[in-house]
């Protein structure tokens, strides 16, 4: 049953030096002992009617979440193992970001929106929620239908609406909330959950595994090309609610799926933790394209508030000729800590990472990718565009590993940073590790300020300063934007312009 897991562990172990980005902080027996002692202290578990679990985290909360979601025993056991492992870990400190310590006992780990009963259709959804979605520009209705996009909206950790499932179901595509999948397709969940990002992977992944509330699940069966872009929109609402989404996408042999993820969050004063996990699995000849536009609340211009976005995303190219492509546009969050990666296990498999990360005001981003080449003729391409403005600090951190078996593997990395203003920073930390003489890795990076001659040229043609900056920055990011689905590309370009407002002049 856990073959996938074992294979993955082997793959990870093969990289005898798991280097940066892995949580290597050790355990403290005392702490574990303390927590174990506390376990049943409160004595409440399932009888609680509340849709909001009390603050704090302990085994009971984990049991409560699992119970609340009516999960089968294997899920509970998995969560508990994750939780116990989490207790042995320490928050990683190697990233180039600074923030006050997080009190994990001062957060809520479960919140559900009020609901009347089982929802049969969109009409039954609280109209207040629908209006909020509309305000955020998330079109759940007709225009989405026409655009051919199925929407699985996660609101406060619980899926409230899912459309298009029947059409997808006809083709055998399973797409919906993670909770549903746990009930309807436990075999698939058992088979793949945690096989790409095991709960032991890092501190935040362990936390997520223990307490994740919901997320999306997608399975595309053999030979099926998913006919529409799948998308989800996330939103943080209730105060002090840590968000722990969990996404799992599996493309079976010869399948294709393109998945869009977009985030937007309303103003908040208090920092909020977001620790999502995304796992992708591509079998022989399968392809997964995963695109993200991340625009969580970045904090105000003085650096107050904003989301902590500590995400673990990883794809496994298990099969021959498989391909996983990550495209991300990160403009939001006070802190971004995220390294979507690919384990290129299958021969001839391909991994891609295209990223735009923008930090303005006091935002900090430490983001990049991991490309682990295991199979023969594996290829990876990394294109990263970092833009720093205001007091923003932007770090690219990327690992390219060519393991023993990666004969003729190739990597190309291009990392460009643009600085706007003299109080920001741009940093580049690539790690290239090669253990095969026929493998080749190439890394290029450049850092420069936004071109004054370019700005003048635009202005001489009548274009104002902010438009000129937005245009030049968008041009700088072109290579990444063209990887995005059309509708996202437009959104992303607008976002950059908005995010850069006030950064020059």
């Amino acid at each position: 049953m856990r073959q996938g897991q074992d294979a993955m562990d082997d793959a990870t172990n093969a990289s005898s030096i798991p280097v940066m980005m892995d949580d290597r902080d050790g355990s403290s027996d005392d702490v574990i002992e303390d927590r174990v002692q506390q376990e049943y202290q409160w004595g409440w578990s399932t009888e609680i009617e509340a849709d909001l679990a009390p603050k704090g985290l302990n085994e009971n909360i984990v049991r409560f979440i699992s119970e609340k979601k009516g999960e089968p025993e294997f899920m509970l056991q998995w969560r508990l193992k994750a939780y116990r492992h989490w207790l042995t870990m320490r928050e990683p400190s190697w990233a180039n970001v600074k923030y006050p310590p997080i009190d994990y006992q001062d957060a809520y780990y479960y919140a559900a929106p009020k609901k009347k009963a089982e929802l049969q259709s969109l009409d039954e959804v609280d109209p207040e929620l629908i209006r909020t979605f509309d305000k955020l520009g998330i079109p759940l209705e007709e225009q989405k239908v026409l655009a051919g996009v199925a929407v699985d909206a996660v609101f406060d950790s619980v899926s409230v609406a899912t459309t298009f499932k029947s059409k997808l179901a006809e083709m055998g595509v399973v797409f919906g909330s993670f909770s549903e999948a746990v009930h309807n397709h436990p075999d698939l969940i058992r088979k793949y959950l945690g096989t790409v990002v095991p709960y032991t992977d890092n501190f935040f992944a362990a936390l997520n595994s223990a307490v994740f509330s919901d997320g999306s699940f997608c399975y595309v069966p053999k030979g099926v090309r998913c006919p529409m872009e799948l998308s989800t929109y996330f939103r943080i609402n209730a105060q002090n609610t840590g968000q722990f989404e969990r996404t799992l996408i599996v493309a079976d042999e010869g399948a294709y799926v393109s998945y869009l993820e977009g985030c937007t969050a309303p103003m908040r004063d208090e920092n909020q933790l977001h620790a999502a996990v995304v796992e992708l699995v591509a079998m022989d000849n399968a392809e997964i394209k995963y695109s993200t536009v991340q625009n969580w609340y970045p904090g105000d211009k003085d650096g107050k508030g904003g989301i902590y976005n500590f995400v673990t995303k990883r794809g496994a190219c298990r099969g021959v000729n498989s391909k996983i492509s990550w495209t991300q546009v990160e403009t939001g969050s006070a802190i971004t800590w995220k390294y979507p990666g690919c384990i290129l296990q299958g021969d001839n498999s391909v991994g891609e990472f295209y990223s735009v990360a923008l930090t303005n005001n006091w935002q900090q981003a430490d983001t990049g990718t991991k490309m682990i080449h295991l199979g023969k003729n594996t290829r990876s391409t990394i294109v990263s565009k970092g833009i720093s403005a205001g007091q923003g600090q932007n770090t690219y951190r990327g690992l390219v590993q060519m393991m023993k078996g990666a004969t003729n593997a190739r990597n190309f990395t291009q990392c460009d940073s643009m600085l706007i203003g003299d109080k920001c920073g741009a940093h580049t930390f690539p790690y290239i590790e090669v253990r095969n003489s026929t493998a080749q890795a190439e890394h290029e990076a450049s850092t420069s300020k936004i071109g004054e001659d370019q700005i003048f040229y635009c202005k001489q043609r009548g274009i104002g300063l902010e438009d000129a900056v937005s245009m030049i920055v968008n041009g700088f990011c072109k290579e990444v934007f063209r990887e995005l689905p059309m509708e996202f590309a437009v959104e992303a370009q607008k976002l950059l312009g908005v995010s850069l407002e006030g950064s020059v002049g």
């Binding site: 071109g451 202005k459 001489q460 043609r461 009548g462 030049i472 072109k478």
Partner: protein, 263 residues
């Protein structure tokens, strides 16, 4: 159209323009000639409002209003166009997207309706032919990977689309072969209208065979030392700048009188 009075300008603290007086009337074409380092391009950049150049003295009136207090984009929106000596590359921004943004910014400032994509394409199609610019270049990033000649033609193409009132051509002929020179000049000539003026900045006389000026000014060491009719350009060709500069300071006074005549 344009009136420059005792204009002094510095770059990085070094004085380049040391008192320029010049007036260009509506419908006229003026040529500014001079040796390398005389300040020709500086004058062009100052008129366009390049931030690296600091005006230390004097004034510039454009359509009767103080030009120097305007931002570069405001000058452009009021009809001043500079064809750059070294057109700038903007990676990732397509030529047509850039030009549409520019055109609409100018139109908006002038109270005209912005053009939609279809009307814009229509307009562009005509103008592209005018300068024999391969249409493919429209979809490439601004000036990126263009040959020298293509860059210069692209400048004139932009000129054609934006239809400025005052066009300043900064060494547009440099680096062009004869065929390209002819194409560029034709482009400029077809855009000459009674209501428009052109300021041609050039080192060589040959461009003036194609774009015939009403008036030629010789700029040496930051000052206009002589002004005259188009024949002055031929004289320069014959004698060289040294010959003209040798005539010394008296010519400066003479030039000043010439100025008066031009105005």
């Amino acid at each position: 159209m344009l009136e420059i009075r005792d204009l002094h300008a510095t770059v990085e603290g070094k004085e380049i323009l040391r008192g320029i007086d010049l007036a260009v009337k509506v419908g006229e074409v003026h040529a500014i000639m001079g040796p390398n380092g005389s300040g020709k391009s500086t004058l062009a950049q100052v008129l366009a409002g390049h931030p690296a150049y600091v005006v230390t003295k004097g004034e510039v009136l454009y359509q009767g209003k103080n030009l120097l207090e305007l931002q570069p984009e405001e000058r452009a929106q009021r009809g001043i166009f500079l064809a750059f000596q070294y057109p700038v590359e903007i990676p990732g921004v397509s030529n047509s997207y850039f030009l549409k943004a520019a055109l609409n910014a100018v139109r908006k400032a002038q109270g005209l309706e912005e053009l939609d994509a279809i009307d814009f394409l229509e307009l562009v199609k005509d103008k592209v032919k005018l300068v024999e610019l391969p249409e493919a270049l429209l979809h490439r990033p601004v000036n990126e990977g263009f040959s020298g000649g293509e860059k210069k033609r692209n400048e004139i193409f932009q000129l054609a689309v934006l239809e400025p009132r005052l066009a300043i051509l900064d060494e547009t002929d440099s680096g062009l072969d004869i065929d390209a020179l002819r194409i560029v000049s034709q482009g400029v000539n077809r855009l000459r209208r009674p209501g428009n003026s052109v300021l041609v900045v050039t080192h060589y006389q040959r461009l003036l065979n194609y774009i015939v000026p009403d008036c030629v000014h010789v700029l040496v060491n930051g000052r206009i030392v002589r002004s005259g009719s188009k024949e002055l350009a031929l004289e320069l060709e014959e004698k060289g700048y040294d010959g003209i500069a040798d005539e010394g300071d008296e010519t400066v006074a003479e030039a000043a009188q010439g100025e008066a005549r031009v105005v």
